[in-house]
Amino acid sequence: MKESFEVAIVGAGPAGISAACRLADQGVRTIVLERGEFPGAKNISGGVLYGRDLERIVPDFADRKCPVERNIVDSRIWYLNKDGGYSLSYRDSVFEENRRYNVFTVGRAKFDRWFADQASEKGALVVSSTLVTDLLRDENDKVTGVRTDRPDGDLQADVVLLADGVNSPLAAKTGFRPEPAPEHVALAVKEVIELPEEVIGERFNTEGQNGVTIEILGDVTWGTNGVAVIYTNRKSLSLCIGANLADLSARKIKPYEMMEAFKAHPMVAPLIKNGKPAEYMAHWLAEGGYDHIPRLCGDGYLIAGDSAMLFNTLHREGSNLAMISGSFAAEAILEARKNGDFGKRSLYGYVERLQDSLVFDDLRKYRRFNPFLQKHKEIFTTLPGAFGFAAREMLTVNGISKKNKQGMIWRNLRKHHSLPSLLRLGWDALRSV
């Protein structure tokens, strides 16, 4: 490739495309390199996006035929045991009107393609089917471009933005980010299950384009530190289940078998009944948190989104952090461009912007959350059963007094949990959020 670009972006996901939009808006010659056959071909998330962050990049996204699946008006949390579980839900009509598109579901193969089209319209060049295999550097180790797997595939650029996602052999190879340890990623599998639009509305008690998210904890992850979700799309449901990779490995769990058991759970099976499985995928979630964010920029490069491990486990936020960090990276690049210097110091405005934003605020706030889940395995092993026993006994009308039932529940809880261990759990839980 003989053409020269000011900015080369690795990866056409939310981080890379957000940056490309911002840069192209300012007339910066920008190229985005995507290894998939089209932007989105390799991409996956649980499936929610956030309007606020998208709006800042494409203000009229709803009018531009953004492929929104459903607008989320109802968020549910389940805590499941073997036979059933607790459900807590919050629904608010404000999310139908004033705060419409606060959260909405998407299929990333469709959304990312659309998003990349917006960047192309603004003037960025998005090139698919091109894998970046290495970075080019000068004698001072400053990054000066990328090497791709195309013939004659070296490409010079003033600055390179790494936005190639959480699984980045490129980052590991070039030393920009150490390989994550198995305990610092979760492996999630996802299945898309097709159902008629009106059936989804009936089963989830929603009308029109409104939808529901369900976040699920309990023993569905077979005692491992993990989570499952069910999200409503227009004509399908997204089911995901994932767990800490080190846990899966230690317990010799096959993720697809865990998915099948999840689908057969008495609270899940009726929701997907007669549904037609349409796609099966797998992906990591960056779970290292604040303490595993790599160095975010250096001479001639920056790292954004999942590549930078920017992920908030508790609030399942990742794509928004990718969009925000991608935008900040673009702003820092514009600043550096004005100075005519793409060295580390000149690009450091990127890190400062992140530090002053909700991205670092939130990740710092929850830095103890993952270690908390990793330490307190009872959340996924014995507590779901004990909590289930409590509700089941209290709700069963069988001539036993409530006081006696409380005694039974307490004794059952104490079978596996000492009082100090329960106090410890409560204390650690409070400290983790």
């Binding site: 390799k42 797997d149 052999p169 010799k252 796609e279 992906h283």
Partner: protein, 93 residues
């Protein structure tokens, strides 16, 4: 009846590269040094199988998550992405 991994992978679209993007660096290590062989479990696409005492790789159905690369206790898997445009191709994502 529960769906098997073969059923699940059958739903997906792959543009299969001619060459494997996954290679075991030293086959002896898998047999002699690796007691648990977690690749046989953690891979969400069941790419790794034990056949006649050695580990075989069905790279064609790889979902490109990277778990085997970092999950291999011996770091004995050479892992790269398929050539640009090849590998799994999501329909919905």
């Amino acid at each position: 009846m529960a769906a098997t991994i073969e059923d699940k992978l059958f739903l997906d679209r792959f543009n299969v590269d001619e060459q494997s993007h996954l290679t075991i660096i030293d086959e002896k290590v898998c047999v002699e040094d690796c007691a648990n062989q977690p690749c046989l479990y953690i891979c969400p696409a069941n790419v790794y199988k034990l056949e006649h005492g050695r580990i075989s790789i069905g790279y064609e159905g790889c979902l490109e998550c990277g778990s085997c690369r970092i999950g291999c206790p011996e770091l004995n898997i050479e892992w790269r992405f398929p050539t640009g445009g090849f590998g799994v191709r999501h329909k919905f994502g």
